[in-house]
């Protein structure tokens, strides 16, 4: 060995050996660096702690900006915890990996045969190779899935194994993931970030690439479509934005080119599965599911599930759709099964099991139970089913009473429990502030079926504990991830995900068929973004008027302010506010009400509410929002977070946040304009925005100018209206200092070129409506075309001279009527769009029980 000592004496590694306990990935027991780490350590030391810290910051920034997140259930920090990545990868040498690959493939083959047997002949139970209670008492054994088969050679299509290395340096399996393994997408995202943060290191290290794995997965999923299906449509079924790994669902859907759908996007008709898209129903052939199997079909599985698709299981049973992994495959996620794998491997494969599991005892077996109860203190105890409270109990952490209680539970229903030897995990270097320290490490490896074999992702998702000698490493417990580098002996050719084929022109799939739910979400993003922006602009106008009242204290300013405050309530639809009961008091001291309008997320129409709703809608269509746009959404979320955590106590304090939010919202609309193709998704988003802006502009004009005011007051009001509509500069340039209702209406109602004006919105909305999908006859207009044409015409036929005229009761009746009528028409447009294009399902019920009983 060539002088290992100097290497470990560098700045980064100086205290590393002090923390060593078990097997270490980087160091020999004596403290010398393992051969395959030498280059890495030399490079890291070369960079120095300072530069490394910068890379670490850069990593965090990249992950944050791409919105890579992980939801921790019941997290006080809120949803979407940022994904954490330690920039020092886990290194595995090629030769060791090849060994591991063979073992993983063997294990996948074995589990596949077991799965096929359990939902088929159940020979393994009949022959006594698997004790009946081990399967029959497991909540993942779904009798309804009996006999449902995936076409092709494998029932287990995707598989992941959680690997740990014991003190002897050998890998063991800590757990099997067989129903909807998560993490492959995070592994891919980690890799993407690493190649940006440490590009030269990555290049020099000759790391195996991941793309081929995903390409195989795509090919496999396509091959699993029901027979006779030429160009299969594949969707990724997600439980939705509240799921812990939702980020990954949208990321993978995008990367693999599948539509991201929720249960309500799919429907079973004529025995087949269809996606409800804007263009109608589109047949779905393969479903890559991230919904737990029990939740997938309320007809035959959990009847209270809102995440599933009624009738899905029967469609799969009839072979008209393929669900991957098949429903029921969570039966293999039974930790007690590990105790029987060696014998099953001999029986089914005629080979010894290459990759052992962590030593496991199933309490349903009398001898094993005795062993477990006698050694409870040094065991990790689990239930065989992953219930709602899936916890592992560690004997050594329990009190005598707790142990006695556990003993009682085990003796009452022994078959529900198993115990594993508490394992000391191997350690890998984690980057702390300015040095490396050993931390317990767990590696999730991913496999995918291919023709008659499996392939292993060369790499995986590595997670490290945050403390020394921790026993459980899981993302739910705040583990940090690492990229996993399998070092190739020679450089590898770059593979792209996309197959280059010459024979077929690429299929052009406009919009990738937009699910109706996605269209609806985009439409509401447009509406809420606009509503939020308009609220802020108006509030800023109100604030500056408020300051003037305080400064000058004259009556006219007070009256202007009162008028603007009333308009604010009307515009935000937050009555009573400044118009209803108790309005007088609030007008005298408007600050609390205004702060509530900004901050109260529970209050419909408040700024907080609008932005939260906008962000929630965005999460639902995450797969359709570009990385740059998502960064802006992130900024908005962060501002909201700030407002929630340290709410401003006065309006003056809120000003900065309001400015920041307006900037973010403008950036959002700019990005939407500049980077979204004009497909149906954009049309709905823009339609939402135009409709909302037209409505709000109308409401503002009606609230401020429909009643005549004293001239000075009216001047001030018009000034504020122009500010709120971003039109003051244009107005000044055009009309100098002549402030007149007529000219203000010219600019804000009828000017086709003013992007803040009402007619402009209506014309744009009309364009959008003309481009909506759906059959239309050559001559007849659709209902929404009729309505928008009427609104446009109404506006174009009006004359601002007349609109500005004041009639009886100091009312501008013409203006009032016009605005009422156009608002009504726009409301009708919104209703028609909603009922034509968005899905409306009445509530789902169980059929009432039938028996008349004797």
């Amino acid at each position: 060995m060539s002088s290992p000592q100097p290497m470990m004496s560098g700045e980064l590694c100086r205290t590393y050996v002090e923390g060593l306990g078990s097997y270490d990935e980087m160091c020999h027991r004596g403290g010398g660096v393992r051969g395959h780490w030498e280059h890495m350590i030399r490079s890291l030391e070369g960079l120095g702690p300072h530069a490394l810290r910068e890379r670490s910051e850069e990593t965090r920034r990249l992950l944050r900006e791409s919105g890579v997140s992980y939801n921790v259930y019941d997290d006080p920090k809120g949803m979407n915890r940022p994904w954490e990545l330690d920039p020092v990868p886990l290194l595995l040498p090629s030769e060791e990996w090849s060994e591991l690959e063979v073992s993983l493939i063997q294990r996948a083959e074995l589990l596949n045969l077991i799965l096929a047997d359990l939902y088929g002949p159940r020979t393994l139970i009949r022959k006594g190779l698997i004790p009946p209670e081990l399967i029959f008492a497991h909540s993942g054994f779904l009798r309804a899935c009996d006999g449902v088969r995936v076409p092709g050679n494998h029932q287990l299509v995707l598989y992941a194994a959680d690997l740990a290395r014991g003190p002897d340096g050998h890998f063991v399996v800590m757990g099997d993931r067989t129903q909807a393994p998560s993490g492959a997408g995070y592994a891919l995202e980690n890799r993407t970030v690493m190649t940006r943060v440490l590009p030269s290191l990555f290049r020099d290290a000759q790391v195996h690439r991941l793309a081929l794995f995903f390409r195989t997965q795509r090919a496999t999923l396509a091959s699993l479509a029901p027979p006779g299906c030429e160009d299969p449509r594949i969707v990724l079924l997600t439980p939705g934005p509240r799921n812990e790994t939702y980020f990954e669902h949208s990321y993978l859907a995008n990367y693999l080119g599948y539509s991201l759908v929720q249960g309500s996007d799919l429907t079973v008709r004529n025995g087949r599965v269809w996606m409800k898209s804007l263009g109608g129903l589109e047949q779905v052939d393969v479903i890559l599911r991230r919904v737990d199997d029990n939740f997938c079909d309320p007809v035959e599985l959990r009847e209270d599930s809102q995440l599933g698709v009624p009738g899905l299981l029967e469609a799969a049973r009839q072979g008209r759709v393929t669900v991957v992994n098949p429903l029921g495959s969570s039966v293999l996620e039974n930790p007690a099964l590990a105790a029987y794998l060696p014998a099953l491997s001999q029986h089914l494969l005629g080979q010894p099991l290459r990759l052992p599991s962590v030593p496991t005892w199933w309490c349903g077996n009398a001898k094993s139970r005795q062993h477990v109860l006698a050694n409870l203190r040094r065991m990790a105890i689990k239930t065989i089913s992953r219930g709602d409270a899936a916890t592992t109990l560690f004997g050594e952490e329990m009190s005598t009473e707790q142990l006695a209680e556990l003993r009682g539970r085990i003796n009452a229903r022994p078959y529900l429990y198993c115990a594993q030897e508490a394992m000391v995990l191997s350690s890998a270097p984690a980057l702390l502030e300015d040095r490396l320290a050993p931390r317990p490490v767990l590696l999730r490896a991913f496999l995918t079926a291919r023709d008659d074999a499996y392939i292993v992702m060369p790499g995986g998702l590595t997670r490290i504990g945050t403390e020394e000698h921790q026993q459980v490493v899981s993302s739910q417990r705040g583990a940090v991830s690492k990229d996993t580098w399998v070092l190739a002996s020679e450089p590898e050719q770059q593979v792209s995900l996309w197959l280059q084929t010459k024979q077929q022109p690429p299929q052009f799939d406009l919009d990738g068929a937009l699910p109706s739910r996605a269209a609806e979400n985009l439409y509401w993003i447009g509406r809420y973004a606009e509503r939020a922006e308009a609220t802020i602009r108006l509030l800023r106008g109100v604030l500056s008027n408020l300051n003037e009242v305080v400064e000058f204290g004259d009556k006219n300013h007070s009256r202007t302010l009162a008028c603007l405050l009333r308009a604010t309530t009307t515009l935000t639809m937050t009555a009573p506010g400044f118009v209803g009961e108790g309005a007088e008091e609030r007008l005298d001291a408007p600050e609390p009400e205004l702060l509530s309008l900004i901050l109260d997320g529970q209050r419909m129409g408040s700024l907080m509410f609008n932005l939260q709703t906008m962000v929630n809608n965005a999460y639902n269509v995450r797969d359709r929002i570009s990385a740059d746009t998502w960064r802006v959404i992130n900024d908005i979320e962060e501002e909201l977070h700030k407002l929630r955590n340290t709410p401003p106590l006065t309006l003056a304090d809120a000003q900065d946040e309001l400015d920041a939010l307006v900037t973010a919202l403008s950036a959002f609309s700019g990005l939407v304009m500049e980077s979204m193709t004009r497909e149906h998704g954009w049309i709905f988003l823009d339609a939402g925005r135009r409709l909302e802006r037209a409505q709000l502009t109308g409401a503002l004009l009606r609230g401020t100018l429909a009643n005549e005011q004293e001239q000075t007051v009216e001047y001030q009001i018009m000034e504020a209206v122009l500010v709120a509509t971003e039109s003051r500069i244009t107005y000044r340039r055009r009309y100098r200092s002549q402030m007149q209702v007529k000219t203000v209406l010219d600019l804000l109602l009828l000017d086709k070129t003013n992007p803040r004006g009402m007619l402009y919105q209506l014309l744009r909305l009309q364009e959008n409506i003309d481009r909506l999908p759906g059959e239309r006859s050559q001559y007849d207009l659709t209902p929404e075309q009729r309505l928008i044409l009427e609104a446009v015409t109404l506006l174009q036929l009006s004359e601002t001279n007349r609109l500005a005229q004041v009639g009886e009761g100091e009312m501008r009746e013409g203006l009032d009527q016009l605005l009422v009528r156009s608002s009504h028409l726009l409301e009708s447009v919104a209703n028609v769009l909603s009922s034509r294009f968005f899905t409306h399902m009445p509530a789902l019920h169980q059929i009432a029980p039938t028996v008349r009983r004797t």
Partner: protein, 293 residues
């Protein structure tokens, strides 16, 4: 005996149902004790899609979907079944119950291993210490298992009052035990849970019972009903049925439709629907004996 069974179920909804998916277990199965000569299920309105399969427990399942708006559904199952008269069984021949438990634990035969599925608790037949206590009186050490169960059946029949107004499908066993009231379904679940609490496999059976008109009266058409009882596995004699509601060992007059771990495995009709609102349900069952040819 031969029977023609007509089982009509109809729902009327207050609001239109736009879409529904349904599962029907109404066609009698074939077994050693009975042959189903034919059976069919008629559905109105005519479904867009229907399939027929056999489920995990060997029961016939008809599934159908209604995709067009409807405010009523009727499901009519018609079948002809020939039930064989069971020979007189000597319950004393069965293994002592404690020995049976040991034999089952040893495994060996596939039938024994598979029967162990029916020892495990299910949501509708959760064992409680009170249940085992109640059962114990019938299970002195060394008593042949089927004799013990027969005794248990007699005790249930004596101790419990038949009361159609007391329970619903959702009533838990603990309440049935506390008030000592219920209907066939409750007594079947009670028997199952008691037997299982002793470590013996038991399963739920749904079906019909031919009702005899009072002497001198005509048989009323459509006045029959669904019935339920339970079945117990004895390692040396196989499965044997017990009807605790009537305190008899089912023979020629019991027609089996389906079997499972508890009611939820054999519900005659279940499913989900969109819309519907309030509904009105009507059920009529007719078990007509046919003259032997």
């Amino acid at each position: 005996m031969r029977y023609r069974i007509t089982h009509l179920t109809a729902y009327h909804y207050a609001d239109a149902v736009s879409l529904s998916y349904n599962e029907v277990r109404l066609r009698p199965l074939d077994s050693d004790a009975q042959v189903c000569r034919y059976s069919r299920v008629e559905i109105d309105p005519i479904p867009n899609e229907r399939t027929e399969t056999t489920d995990y427990f060997g029961n016939h399942v008809d599934r159908f979907a209604l995709q067009t708006s409807h405010d009523q559904v009727s499901v009519k199952a018609i079948s002809e079944v020939e039930v064989k008269a069971a020979g007189k069984m000597d319950l004393g021949m069965s293994l002592p119950w404690d020995e049976a438990v040991e034999v089952l634990a040893k495994g060996g035969l596939a039938d024994h291993l598979l029967a162990r599925e029916f020892v495990l608790e299910t949501p509708m037949s959760r064992p409680m210490s009170e249940l085992r206590e109640y059962a114990l009186a019938s299970f002195p050490s060394g008593r042949p298992v089927l004799e013990a169960v027969h005794d248990l059946m007699e005790r249930i029949h004596t101790d419990f009052t038949y009361d159609p107004g007391f329970s619903t499908i959702a009533t838990p066993l603990s309440e049935v035990l506390e008030h000592k009231r219920g209907v066939c379904q409750d007594f079947a679940h009670l028997g199952i849970a008691c037997v299982r609490s002793m470590g013996i496999p038991a399963r739920y059976v749904s079906g019909y019972l031919e009702t005899l008109p009072p002497p001198g009266k005509e048989r009323l058409v459509g006045a029959d009903a669904s019935h339920a009882w339970f079945s117990v596995y004895c390692p040396n004699l196989g499965w044997q049925d017990f009807d605790p509601t009537n305190c008899i060992m089912p023979s020629e007059r019991h027609i089996t439709v389906a079997r499972g771990r508890d009611y939820s495995d054999v519900a005659p009709l279940k499913g989900v629907l969109f819309g519907g609102g309030e509904n009105k349900l009507s059920v009529s069952v007719d078990v007509a004996p046919l003259l032997e040819e």
